[in-house]
């Protein structure tokens, strides 16, 4: 009886810890993506403003710098929480392996520090710094975004492809932190995430201006505010297809169960079909459209090749296939949609040297941001749930890594509440900023007594 109770408590704790981590990461990742890509998009506007004495471009840079500052603040604190949670929730990973994967976090700390310092200087430097110096403060911000995201993604890649240590009778020995950082998943995962960050940020900013367009704001500033981020995202979109293909192909070797779950393949077979939709019920795929041989072809460039199914790993090492399959498909579908939208824009631009005029383009474009955010979140669900039951692939099970502290259910509930409030407040503040921009008030009023109307 006692044993049953202990198991039930630890199950609840495990669920709560996973839920809390997913919520914190799911929230932070949007802001982290903006932190990586927004500075570059701002740089493009700022550069145009200086080069061509373009008033609208410079105004955009100024507005965006303020939006960036708010997003950066929320991203900085939500990222700090994650460094608390790594130890609070996952002692079974951080205890034995904190030294193996700590180095990239330390290096990321350097990049983040540089980013925080120069964002402050850029944001507060509009009035006094010489214009050239002010513009150049954007460079270290952009570079540290590139560098910092590499380090962070390398730590996650290590969880998928652990390297840089030897396990001898349960003891972690021969630690090489550089080999851990440069594991075989790092490269492709990094480029995939970097492109995703540029797509998310570009499509989201463009989406805001697309909404403005639907409301009749067709002036040059709004046009430019759409074009700059949309073009950046549109360049990233086709590249992402290529990188995504490389990423999924390497899974057959590295994480066959994840691959099988993504493609919803219960059995290892030759000529595996691509499964659209469908659910795995009692080991059988139901209600799916199957395209014969396509999964094999995508994975190996051979329609008849044998690819691993879920049965390639023991039953207790299989991820929940339906969640992985559906989140993967959602990501691919949204990515394809965004690519189509980019192609639509590119085609019209090529023929007419102008943005599309049809209202349907702008309707879809106004949803591009939500689409890109959802795609990125779905991609993270795919990779994280697809690794289960492992927290470190093949080495540590998530259930063995979780904290023994009781009461994680409470902190998980509290953090959900906090992030709900924070999400709503962030959106409200961004909306208010957008309204004030529209009203022509670029300057933030210092708080204090309200000015009487």
């Amino acid at each position: 009886m006692d044993m049953v109770l202990v198991v039930a408590t630890s199950q609840a704790n495990l669920f709560a810890a996973r839920y809390q981590m997913a919520t914190s990461l799911g929230f932070h990742i949007m802001l982290a993506a903006a932190g990586v890509a927004f500075p570059f998009i701002t740089l493009l506007a700022h550069r145009r403003g200086l080069r061509h004495k373009d008033r609208d471009a410079l105004r955009l840079a100024k507005r965006w710098s303020k939006v960036m500052a708010v997003l950066f603040a929320v991203g900085a604190v939500s990222g700090t929480i994650i460094s608390f949670e790594m130890g609070m929730l996952w002692p079974g990973m951080m205890g034995p392996f904190g030294d193996v994967i700590g180095l990239p976090f330390a290096l990321e700390g350097v990049a983040f520090f540089v980013e925080a310092i120069f964002i402050a200087i850029y944001l507060y430097g509009w009035n006094r710094l010489p214009a050239r110096t002010h513009y150049r403060t954007l460079y270290p911000i952009v570079v540290s975004g590139f560098v910092g995201s590499f380090f962070i993604v390398s730590a996650n890649a290590w969880m998928n492809s652990p390297a840089g240590f030897t396990l001898t009778a349960g003891e972690v020995t021969n630690i090489d932190p550089w080999a851990a950082m440069l594991n075989s998943a790092t490269g492709v995962q990094y480029v995939h995430m970097l492109l995703a960050a540029y797509m998310l940020t570009g499509f989201t900013i463009a989406g805001v201006y697309a909404v403005g367009r639907l409301k009749g704001r067709t002036d040059r500033l709004h046009r430019l505010g759409f074009i700059i981020p949309f073009v950046v995202a549109s360049i990233a979109a086709p590249l992402q297809v290529v990188v995504g293909d490389v990423a999924s192909r390497r899974l057959i070797e590295a994480q066959p169960a994840k691959f099988a779950a993504m493609e919803l393949l219960p059995e290892t077979i030759a000529g595996a079909p691509m499964t659209l939709g469908g659910l795995l019920v009692d080991g059988e795929v139901r209600g799916a459209i199957e395209i014969p041989g396509l999964a094999s072809f995508l994975a190996t460039r051979d329609f008849g090749a044998v690819v691993p199914g879920l049965d390639a790993v023991p039953a207790d090492e299989r991820p929940p296939a339906n969640i992985v399959h559906w989140s993967f498909q959602l990501m691919v579908a949204l990515g394809t949609g965004l690519l189509a939208l980019s192609a639509w824009f590119a085609f019209i631009w090529w023929r007419k040297r102008d943005v599309p005029q049809g209202v349907w383009f702008w309707r879809f474009a106004s949803l591009a941001g939500i689409g890109a955010i959802t795609a990125l979140e779905a991609g993270w669900v795919t990779t994280e749930v697809g690794r289960q039951p492992w927290i470190v692939q093949g080495v540590v099970r998530t259930a063995d890594a979780v904290t023994a502290a009781e009461g994680i259910v409470v902190t998980a509930a509290a953090i959900t509440g906090l992030y709900l409030v924070l999400g709503v407040a962030t959106l409200a503040v961004l909306r208010r900023m957008s309204r004030r921009f529209a009203a022509g008030e670029d300057v933030a009023t210092p708080y204090g007594p309200e000015v009487a109307p």
Partner: protein
């Protein structure tokens, strides 16, 4: 001195930097809380915002630096601390989130109720965050964190005399440092009235910090004998004397309105308390449980951390000095007009 000691010293540089710079940011929030109603407190609040606006985020990164170095160099002690003390750490984490976001949001709120809401959130979490971080320090210092996965008492580990003392000390010390720093800013801006306002508060908070620290000696003797013994050792005593002397000198300088030098001594007083703790506890990371050398990561990892620190010294320190000097010279900010060479002036010429 082993490489592990070097890394511990690096971590303690981070703790000190967070203690004084992050601490002063928290302190600014504390004074914001006590600045009075919206009419009366407006001048004080906008001065506080000018003082910390450009620097708070950079100051805050020290905490991440400390956490990451701790888990990389000393993973087992780190998870012991994080899992046993998850309640005060979660509360501090919530405080950090609410504080940072509310501060950023308040700037953009244009109605009085929302401004007051964000302002109150910012100010209240500025008190709670250092308090809970202080209780964590007290728990470690008094030897209440055993090795293992959540092996310590989840409540008594941080609700005890040493933790409450450390929490209170953190709050008053933050208030003291902030008041001393802001008095200097006000005096540099030429506002005698505000300089006077913060001078009085710095003196009050400074005396309070001294009283709490002195009471601490009695509390530690009863509640944390191991630390007390370390503090009263040949290495501990001089550091405590430096702290006390620096505190007294800073109060004397404040009373003579030498703000610039006074703030330096105020920071020194805080830093020496932190180093006193480290020396008092050495060679234990967790009292009686884990020593620095026995629980350090392998050499290859520690060397990696030294390389990362070298990168930080080369890249971060010059940038940080530039940021602080720009802030100090009033180059960053929205008040005080525009330079003709600035981007803002260019934008205006373009009709922006």
């Amino acid at each position: 001195m082993s490489l592990a000691d070097v890394i511990l010293a690096i971590i303690w540089v981070g703790v000190s930097a967070y203690g004084v710079f992050g601490g002063a940011d928290f302190g600014a929030g504390i004074w914001d809380l006590f600045a009075g109603g919206p009419e009366r407190g407006a001048k004080v609040r906008s001065l506080l915002e000018r003082a910390i606006g450009p620097v708070w985020e950079a100051n805050h990164v020290w905490l991440i630096f400390v956490l990451v170095y701790l888990w990389t160099a000393f993973p087992e002690p780190f998870v012991a601390i994080a899992t046993t003390l998850y309640i005060p750490l979660t509360l501090a984490a919530f405080g950090i989130i609410l504080r940072g976001t509310a501060f950023a949001f308040r700037k953009w709120s244009d109605t009085m109720p929302s401004r007051r809401f964000f302002g109150a959130t910012f100010a209240a979490s500025s008190v709670l965050t250092p308090f809970f971080l202080g209780t964590v320090a007290g728990a470690i210092a008094s030897g209440r964190v055993p090795l293992g996965n959540a092996a310590g008492d989840p409540v008594a580990s941080w609700l005890n005399p040493t933790s409450l003392l450390a929490g209170s000390l953190a709050v008053v010390a933050c208030a003291f440092m902030a008041a001393a720093l802001v008095a200097r800013v006000a005096s540099a801006e030429g506002s005698t009235e505000l300089a006077q306002y913060f001078r009085r508060r710095a003196l009050g908070a400074g005396v309070a910090t001294g009283v709490v620290a002195a009471a601490g000696i009695v509390v530690l003797r009863a509640d944390a004998p191991a630390l007390f013994h370390g503090l009263t050792s040949a290495w501990g005593i001089p550091i405590l004397l430096v702290s006390a002397a620096a505190g007294i000198v800073s109060l004397w300088l404040l009373s003579r309105r030498s703000y610039s030098v006074a703030r330096g001594f105020a920071l020194l007083a805080t830093v020496s308390i932190l180093w006193g703790w480290a020396v008092g506890q050495y060679p234990y990371l967790l009292q009686g449980e884990a020593t620095v050398d026995a629980f350090a990561a392998p050499q290859a990892v520690l060397i990696g951390l030294v390389i990362a620190f070298a990168a930080a010294v080369l890249l971060v320190i010059p940038s940080l000095i530039w940021l602080f000097s720009l802030t100090e010279r009033g180059v960053l900010g929205e008040v005080g007009g525009q330079d003709a060479e600035s981007t803002g002036a260019l934008l205006e010429r373009l009709g922006g």
